[in-house]
């Protein structure tokens, strides 16, 4: 039996220490992901806290046929959605770019962070699918389970997201080339 499963069983028995150890490795990963989905850094932290609380409270419902990370991400997405205002799409146009948590948390670099472009170009769900695929290395089946979508939807939208970001990369390369020669 794996260490993770041992910790899960101990957490099911009511061991906070086991659960804390279990989720320790997921804290930064989840917070990074939540910062891409929440309106502010504080919201992302609240969503992370709620995710761990809900995961611990309902750990008896965890089915070991899924990866533990799949289950955690599913809870995290629900919590992030709950914290988002209903009119986030309208607010998105009006919001100051400085309030975007990603703006504060992305290390200064010569090039633009592609995840910011992804946030601008892709829908929330496609963004999440891309993140789970390329950052978390999740399988199509796991991504579909996290997003509560079909495998076909996941495949098609990953392809669309990929195409959009590849086009963005090409634009960036073209712009850099023009500046270098200009």
């Amino acid at each position: 039996m794996s260490d993770e499963l041992n910790l899960i069983n101990a957490a099911k028995g009511g061991s906070v220490e086991a659960f804390t150890e279990l989720v320790h490795g997921y804290r930064e990963r989840l917070l990074r992901f939540l910062m891409t989905r929440c309106a502010s850094h504080a919201d992302a932290e609240d969503a992370l806290q709620d995710t761990f609380i809900n995961a611990y409270r309902y750990i008896a419902t965890y089915n070991p046929q899924w990866r533990f990370s799949t289950w955690l991400y599913r809870i995290a997405i629900r919590n992030a959605a709950r914290l988002r205002p209903a009119n986030i799409a309208e607010l998105g146009e009006l919001r100051d770019e400085q309030s975007d948590p990603l703006t504060h948390c992305i290390a200064q670099s010569e090039r633009d962070n592609l995840w910011r472009s992804a946030k601008r170009l892709l829908s929330d769900e496609v963004f999440a699918a891309m993140w789970l695929r390329y950052v978390e290395d999740m399988s199509i089946k796991d991504i579909a389970a996290v997003l509560e979508r079909s495998s076909s939807w996941t495949k098609v939208n990953l392809l669309r997201g990929r195409r959009a970001l590849e086009a963005e990369l090409n634009n960036e390369a073209h712009k850099t080339g023009s500046e270098a020669y200009g």
């Binding site: 906070v16 930064e28 990074r32 910062m35 419902t61 948390c105 592609l114 995840w115 992804a118 891309m130």
Partner: protein, 134 residues
């Protein structure tokens, strides 16, 4: 790994997401105040085998009683179903128009004459109205 995947992975790593000590203590405090909910896993007590026999026999007895009652209740003469010509029904359907019969106060010929007179009067009134307007 292709260029896009590498870039996405690198850019994700550039996002600084340190869990502060304050957040960590907040999470620990929240977790220590709750306990996992337990699933109802206790199996239902199984019924003795004789219960199945008893319930089966009861069901069969009830079915027999119902069949007997339905057959006893058939007191009227059994009528043969009338063969209905489907085409006849399509051509001349039995329409329930629900109309009231005209109350005729005179013989039919006289009524016809009266109705024709009314019609002529109405026609004359319309003609006059039209001539006045134009």
């Amino acid at each position: 790994m292709d260029k896009l995947a590498t870039r996405l992975r690198e850019d994700a790593a550039d996002i600084d997401a340190q869990v502060s000590a304050e957040l960590d203590s907040r999470i620990r405090a929240s977790l220590s105040n709750i306990s996992p909910e337990r699933l109802e896993t206790a199996p239902r007590p199984s019924r003795p085998f004789s219960m199945w026999w008893a319930s089966s026999l009861t069901g069969a007895a009830v079915a027999l009683v119902v069949i007997a009652l339905l057959n006893l209740d058939r007191t009227g003469p059994v009528t043969e179903p009338v063969a209905v010509n489907a085409m006849q029904q399509l051509v001349n359907p039995d329409l329930d128009l629900n109309v009231e019969a005209a109350m005729l106060t005179s013989p039919l010929a006289e009524e016809l004459a009266n109705l024709q007179a009314d019609l002529r009067k109405a026609e004359k009134a319309v003609r006059e109205d039209v001539e006045i307007d134009f």
